[in-house]
């Protein structure tokens, strides 16, 4: 029997063999590896089996369990933004614009970005640590050996759930944030709830809401993908778990700002 060389696919390990020498090489490895990981996600997402039970379980863990944290943060942001903005608006005699200003700020920018950052801290790091720990304890190998596709079961489900859940959480954070703003307005004066919200709805239109929601899908996708990537390729050992969780948060938060910057530019071109 003739032995022969076997190259099944380009893998991270094969890339590392060639480029480990230089810093530029490491950066190239990371970017190429993440790109291959993303391509693999889009290949696997359409293929059966569809892990509905795992999707529901992750939706509960990622969405429902994150809601209290996101809601509290949203309420505080709405309250603080209102209190901090009041003196500046008062200088220009525009205190009546307070609900409108806070609503636009919250819905367009602060709500989605703060929710994404909270989400990156809670969910991105959680996914990174969970997958890294599964890798260290050979649970991912055990899945593979039992005929399960671990990428499909662990990565595809978590990325999909993060992509869908973050927009929902951002909308909820916006809503709770507006109630925080209402509380802030009422700390120094009296404004009825109906008047407050009539001011809010007059100032916010579809063009404020839609781009903000669309960008949260990208935030969620990036956070889920980076969390999974960092966990899936974690180094072995307990140190690897810590590093995976840490770098998942740092990298995902950075990506949130980069995506936000691109989204703002695109929205500006579209709107003006």
């Amino acid at each position: 029997m003739e032995p022969r060389i076997k190259i099944r696919s380009i893998t991270r390990e094969k890339l590392e063999e060639n480029f480990l020498a230089s810093v530029f090489g490491k950066f190239f490895i990371e970017v190429t590896s993440l790109a291959l990981f993303t391509v693999r996600f889009f290949k696997e997402v359409w293929r059966p089996p569809y892990e509905l039970n795992e999707l529901l379980k992750q939706s509960f863990l990622v969405g429902y369990k994150s809601f209290p944290l996101v809601a509290i943060t949203g309420f505080i942001i709405g309250l603080v933004l209102t209190i901090q903005s009041r003196p500046t608006l008062a200088k220009f005699g525009a205190v009546s614009m307070l609900p409108a200003m806070v609503a636009v700020s919250l819905i367009r920018e602060i709500g989605p970005v703060i929710t994404a950052l909270i989400f990156a801290g809670k969910v991105g790091s959680g996914i990174g640590a969970e997958l890294a720990s599964m890798k260290v304890t050979e649970q991912i190998d055990a899945m593979q050996v039992s005929g399960t596709n671990p990428f499909k079961y662990l990565v595809v489900t978590r990325v999909l759930v993060a992509t869908v859940m973050l927009p929902l959480l951002a909308v909820l954070a916006d809503a709770v944030g507006l109630f925080g703003s209402f509380a802030g307005v009422n700390l120094k004066g009296h404004v009825s709830l109906s008047f407050f919200f009539s001011q809010v709805f007059q100032s916010v239109d579809f063009n404020d809401l839609l781009p903000a929601i669309i960008k949260t899908f990208f935030f969620g996708f990036a956070i889920g993908l980076i969390g999974c990537y960092k966990g899936y390729y974690a180094n072995t050992g307990t140190e690897g778990v810590g590093k995976a969780a840490n770098s998942a948060v740092v990298f995902a938060s950075l990506m949130v700002f980069i995506i936000d910057m691109i989204a703002v530019q695109l929205t500006s071109v579209y709107q003006y």
Partner: protein, 259 residues
Amino acid sequence: MTENAIPIKSEQDAAQNGSFVVEMVHLRKSFDENQVLRDINLVVHKGENLVILGKSGTGKSVLIKCIVGLIDCDYGTLVIFGEDTSRLSEEQLIAMRKKIGFLFQSGALYDSMTVRENLQFPLRRQERSTPKETMNSLITEALENVGLAKAIDKTPAELSGGMRKRLGLARTLILKPEIMLYDEPTTGLDPITSKEISKLILEVQKTYNTSSVIITHDMECARLTADRIILIKDGMCEAEGSFDELKNSPDAWIRSFFE
């Protein structure tokens, strides 16, 4: 090969291509500059327990991970059930893996699941249409076979080291594999539990008619379970024989394993 060592028969056997379930020809694997497997030639016969011995870091675990496809070898031919694995598609490899059981050194139990769920997981993946009653009876049977029936609702964190190994074994056996790969099954266990695990390996061989490859440093486990032993040195098969043949070898290095 070391002078006076018992000669390797695998290479001649490989040419005959008889009742082998696994056949490795000139297998090599490196990690960066470290060549772990230099030239591995061996076969696993149907229904036999093959024990692989060697010093730490000689590539024993890498070797069985190549068999199950967790690691791709760099060079050489790996034939399982008569099929050259390098010619198989991903789907065919997954189908082949279903016939191979792997007991990890750490157990590799899913720690977010209970004992029952650990066994349900591989069953659901493979037989999605299995009725709940059939699944429950399979789980109960697998747990009874390894003496863990009472621990069905516990989590892996609540189990002792021996129980974790037995659960890992039950999870593998529930899929009725034709080849069992054991990666240091008795490491970290006391002598009594180690003996129980060794006996369990023999029972598995008889009950399920499996062929097994057992990586171990535990000589008592090797003595109890081995039909044949292969010694690995520097990434190559150094010697082969029964426990008694190797123990009484004229070669001092081979004998040193058994002293």
